[in-house]
Every structure is written in C-alpha cells, then in structure tokens.
Symmetry: C2
Subunit: 199 residues, 2 copies
C-alpha cells in the first residue's frame, strides 16, 4: 500500500470506485439477512487502499465520525470512525442495526446487557477486532456497547454501516448504573467524498 | 438574502436542510408523475438562500456541473449548473428524464428534433427560463437541446435533477448536421455537501 511517511495513511487520490461499488451492492442487498450485508463490508475492509486521507484524520481530543455516504431515504449510512491512540467511546446504544468493519489497526468492543436492577453488566468478554474483521449488532441481538482503540500508540480506523442516518439518530450514552443521557452524534465533516464521478 | 459583496453569492454556511428535505421528498415521490417531481424542484428553487458558495463558483472558460447528491442506487442525481457570463452548452442529449430549475439569473433553452434527413432542427422557439421556473425533458418528450446563460454580464445557476447519475451516463453532443460525438460529463467537484448532519 502506498503510504505517506508521516502518517501511514494511504496516498492521495485513492480509488473511490471500491466504496461506490460497496454502496451499490449494499443498497441492492438491503433486504438480505444481516450476515449477507456483513460479508459485503468484510469485502470492503479486506483492503486498506481506498479511504481518502481526509476521512481518516484523527482528532487529538476524541474519536471522530466522518460520514462517507447517506442513502437518499436515510435507510442506511456509511461512516469512518477514526480513533486516536487510546481513545474510546462511552457506553452507548444505536437503536438501529449496525456493522463495524476494522480497516486499519484494531478495536476492543465490550457489549453490555441490563441486569435485574437496570444496571449495565458486561454481556460477554470484551472482543478484539483486528483489521479485516466485522462485528454485527442491533436492537434484537444487543445494541449497547463501548468501543476503544486497541492501540495506545497508533491510529485505528473502522468502517461502520447503520440502518439509519446514524449521525441524526437520537440515542443514548450510559453510565454503569444504566442511567441514560440522550445524544445526537452529528458528523465531523462538512463535505463528503464524491463517489460518483466515473469519468 | 445575505450576499458577499464581490460575487453576489449567498453567505457561508447556508441551511442545507432545504436541500436535504428536497432529496427526502424527491426519493419518496420517485414513482410519481414527472409533473409532481417538477413541483418539488419548483419549491426548491423558489428561494435562493441555501446553495453553498463552493457549488456556485463559475469557471472562466466553460460552464460547470457540481454534483450535490446521488442516490445510492444511482436512480437520480441532483446537480448545480453554473454558467459564467455568456457561457453555453453544445447541442446534447441526456438519455434519461431531466428537470431544470433556475435558481439565480436566467437561461435560454433551445430544444431540437430530428429532421427527415437526420439533421437537427429547432423543435420550437427558444424558451427563456427565469429564476424560479422549471423545465421538463426526457427521451419520451424530447431530449436534445442546447442551453445558454441568458446574461452576458453575470453568473446564472440552475439546479438539475436527472433519472440517473448523470455525470456517468454515456451520451452525446451533436453538430447541426446531427452527427453524434459520445461524451461522459463527469463532475467539477471532488467533495459533496454533507446534507445529513442534523445535530
Ligand atoms: Fe457503537
Ligand atoms: Fe441538458
Ligand atoms: Mg438512495
């Protein structure tokens, strides 16, 4: 993979055709089982040579979420999550199905479930996702988790697909007692990549 | 309308909610008659306070086409056409339905039809479209035209909607003898406006 020496990010002007082909295949398979959609994402993150550097820029203070594509009817959105060294999310939910595919580096995902008193308990051991691996979540199979960069000394990047315009969904973060705090995440970017120029 | 003194373009950070609401309404009405879709575009161009200045920048040499939104399945695209003073297109076709709504300034549209010998003849008198007005065309009702800025001394801008990812459609320009020259227009912009941040 061609990289710039300073950041390890792909060189400028990568091929957006990979992301365009993913969006086309994903919308065609939107009614397929979630496992079929997860396979499409696995194909996308199998190679780390297509994400423009401007959508992989970390923020020194906290993780960033860049919108890459949103469906016209907001039926799904595709996002790049960029984790600076050691950055992590609070415990949070999504309220729609979601797929996470690691493009670069690695992530630690900790799923939660509600205990009898309403508090949040680990639903299983934390899972480490390496580059190329995909995780599935949703309201039906468990929708509350926290996610962290597995690396303390480097950037990780993952590609997420959600069953809505995720940056506009009113959802919640939680403390360990299970108390909700409502949030709408928005996006870090004012501009999206133009996937659609085939000329 | 707040304008910058130099260009007459809207001030920075206009409300992209108008364009987002248009895309949402348009995709919901994609199977409605073309006249219903034209009414949605008429509503959009009724006010010139929402197009970011970076998608209204003219090129000194020729008209420019900026992609604003493309449907995930490439069923439709929304484009801003920016005409420098006196600029015009060659005679060309589209091969899909199209809507043109003038946002700023005015345009002259000249439709063509094939004569018995295959040459192109004016199908009617040229039509002047003022800001706020919408034109409809398509393979079924006539798809060949040339378009020009009606103004020799100022920029005009129109918003177009097409039944495909128009920048990727292989179509044709024509000389007056009706001889085709294939072209794929592409787009002037590498980045699209992020319509989807509601936070
Ligand atoms: Fe999450
Ligand atoms: Fe045209
Ligand atoms: Mg769509």
């Amino acid at each position: 993979m061609p990289t710039s020496g300073k950041t390890g990010l792909p060189a400028a002007d990568p091929d957006l055709g990979r992301l365009r082909d993913f969006v086309r295949a994903f919308v065609a398979g939107l009614d397929e089982p979630i496992e079929a959609r997860a396979r499409l994402l696995r194909d996308l993150v199998a190679r780390d040579d297509w994400l423009p550097a401007e959508y992989a820029e970390p923020d020194p203070a906290r993780y960033r979420q860049y919108l890459l594509h949103c469906d016209s009817a907001e039926r799904f959105s595709v996002v790049s999550f960029v984790w600076g060294p050691g950055q992590r999310t609070p415990i949070h939910d999504h309220r729609v199905w979601g797929l996470v595919g690691v493009l670069r580096g690695a992530e630690i995902v900790q799923p939660y479930r509600r205990g009898p008193d309403g508090s949040l308990l680990p639903a299983s051991a934390a899972q480490r996702l390496e580059a190329g691996e995909v995780d599935i979540f949703g309201p039906d199979i468990g929708d509350i988790h926290s996610v962290a960069n597995a690396h303390a000394d480097r950037v990780s990047v993952s590609i997420h697909v959600y069953g809505a315009n995720i940056g506009a969904v009113e959802r919640a973060t939680y403390d360990e007692a299970g108390r909700e705090k409502r949030f709408v995440s928005g996006y870090a970017n004012r501009s999206l990549p133009n996937l659609w120029d085939r000329s």
